[in-house]
Amino acid sequence: MPPRDSDERELDAARDPLPRPDDTPDLSRVRRIGAAARSLDAEDRDPADPPPELWAGIADRVSSPGSDVDATGGEEAAGAAPVVPLEGRRASAAAPAAALRPGRGRRAAWWAIGAAAAAVVLVVAGAVVATREDGDAGGSTVASAELEPLPDALPGTGPGRAAVVVRDGAEELTLDATPPEAPDGFYEVWLIDTAVDGMVSLGPLRADGRYAIPDRVDVRAFPVVDVSIEPPDGEPTHSGRSVLRGVLS
């Protein structure tokens, strides 16, 4: 057989996926390309269009105030220096801004998937921390979070603010959020862990904005404050429709 020139070797490689000992990196990529080209199906050739609202979610997350995607390098949360940081977590592990959108049929699954999908992405709502004596409320603020509206929020939903206040030795979540009335359900307040796997309901949104945190619940383990819209279906689990979220620090 006559020696093959480089064009011929490439053509051979495009048709033969089996690697050879003398393959250059370029040639082995040509083998991968040929194998991929021969296994294309109709959807590969004509990819599905993403839903039209998908871009808005990206734009929100990249530009939302306090998210500071640019400055973080993807790992550490920038933002205000925590005076009383919550222990045992990295801010970057949390705050999956739009990670939860489960269908109601398979909630457990979607929670965890959302967590993993979101784990690397950092969209921490600008967390502001202060330890201060709260004169009128008579408590001490140990952690707080700015809550950012998520793509599933109703139009007109503004940012909110949450704080953990210790009063008479008991922890309480104060929540300042006044989203528009949900026509198809009610708002519920949650504390969620950084894996977005476990969560504690603090109950429906209250006009006085005060929520008792049960003694046995450590907010350090559930630092994500989440407000969802729940359909009145009696189903006690999270609907997956999160509308406001922030991370306590």
Binding site: A36, W110, A118, V120, V121
Partner: protein, 193 residues
Amino acid sequence: VRDATSDPGDARAAADADLELAFAKGGDDALAAAYARFGRVVYSFARRTVGPEVAEEVTQDVFVAAWTARDRYDPERGSLAGWLIGVARHKVTDALRAQQRVAARAERAAAFAGVAPAADAAVDQVAERLVVADGLAALRPEVREVVELAFYSDLTHEQIAERTGRPLGTVKSHIRRSLATLRRHLEGLDAAP
């Protein structure tokens, strides 16, 4: 002097090259432009690996993460199309791990009926198929005709020239240059963080 119209990619390739530079520099609207150009491929990849319901979240995560890490994208080391799919591959793998972790909880296993998580190798294959499909679609039709004969037939260069009625040199050049373009997609895929 090489006639610009003989380049395999022509205007689309030039636009993609501009986009790659703008993205790497973090230029205004570069993320929007990247989404407009590659949103379908990334979303399609996510759909085919983690499934349609999680695909939206993963797609958003990919573009946010890619934008955050844009200073690590180097057009010299591969195409943006490949790189974005590479970023997506990591997100998808994370999502599938979580899916499997949850599935392992026996009491909830039933909730996963009908969900068959793709294995890593399958994810890689889908990633490579989609970047190759995108690269082929970007070729001018007369170039693609030649390149497809390289992949899907056993014809020699001479036979392809005969079949398509093009000069042998043109056939070789189309194939060589198109393979280089497609390789760049895989390089981008391999280089993604």
